[in-house]
Subunit: 203 residues, 2 copies
């Protein structure tokens, strides 16, 4: 791409360094900002810099947070006896969006993946063990992606938790709600037949 301006070129390269943004999209964003007041760009940049400078990881659950302890961990109305173990921050948001969980979280920061060189010591597993040793937690829910790495992580964690007085569960796996059976992949469909559950009539 041929820029007649170094300033534009640098701004385009800045946007294009972000994931999923190519040069053409970056240029469209830059030209959009040029057509706005200077303040718009200032506020945009400030929001991002402020976020990056001040964002913290919660001391307890390792979720991202504005304060040393995140909103969820410091919320007195939440059930402190259940902890949902997740891979990352996005999983916390996804589960929060369902409004179906009122316990606390624990963010591992990834899953065990020998191929990528991620071992148990690279994740916040020790921190989870320390939380459980305090005795307040009664149940640990594994909300980890049903992949090989995810299953390895669940297996590793459940072995470590075996001797501790906590109930360990995983989120239900099976065909999606609203999905049509013929489009479900073989593995999911096969396993959901094997793991069939008794039908309950809601009265």
């Amino acid at each position: 791409m041929n820029f007649s301006s170094k300033l534009i070129e640098e701004a385009v390269n800045a946007f294009a360094s972000l994931p999923s943004i190519g040069k053409k999209t970056a240029l469209r964003l830059v030209l959009h900002l040029i057509n706005q007041d200077k303040e718009v760009t200032g506020q945009f940049a400030e929001a991002i810099v402020k976020m990056r400078e001040h964002i913290k990881h919660c001391e307890i659950c390792h979720n991202i947070s504005d304060l040393a302890v995140c909103e969820i961990c410091s919320d007195a109305r939440r059930d402190r006896s259940v902890v949902c173990v997740v891979e990352g921050i996005r999983d916390v948001m996804a589960i929060e969006d369902t409004s179906q969980f009122r316990g606390l979280y624990h963010v591992l920061g990834g899953v065990i993946s020998p191929i990528e060189g991620i071992g148990p010591s690279d994740l916040y597993i020790d921190a989870l063990m320390q939380r459980i040793q305090k005795g307040e937690i009664k149940e640990v829910i594994m909300a980890i992606s049903p992949t090989i790495e995810g299953d390895t992580t669940i297996f590793y964690l459940s072995k470590k938790l075996k001797d501790m007085k906590v109930k360990v569960s995983t989120i239900a796996r099976g065909v999606s709600f609203g999905g049509e059976l013929e489009y479900a992949d073989e593995l999911t469909l096969g396993r959901s037949i094997v793991a069939r559950v008794p039908y309950r009539i809601n009265e």
Copy 2:
């Protein structure tokens, strides 16, 4: 979307205010920046703010420029007798990318569009006339989109240029190179039959 952090929420909203970026993409971009060094975000923000603060429009052609006169207008090697009239900055870049034009440009800043309330006085048409009156320009190429508004603008400009001693041309219109005839739209195909050109053998 449920953010456990005000800082994240503001940064996501900043990205999501840009065109073609939704909340999910914005979140992905923000989480990407969180995983990078603080300096990366600083440099990103700086490039954008610097661009917006210092960007100018070229006094001569109204292209965006770092200086009062843009790189193209101040390039002594370019042909000052030919001016290519375009709607916007992106058209300049597109034509520059072809490496087929060595003259100068004139950016109109849009096209005449009564529906959107854009009249000739809203565009840099007077500035174009003043450039031509200086006598150096021999040919004006209309490189304007083949739309109703574009054609209206070309018609308006060519009427204004009729009494001036300049040759007026438009870029060739017809079927795209590499495109298959059966997929060309009716209007383009019909017009390219009407406007057929004598076949020349390159020897």
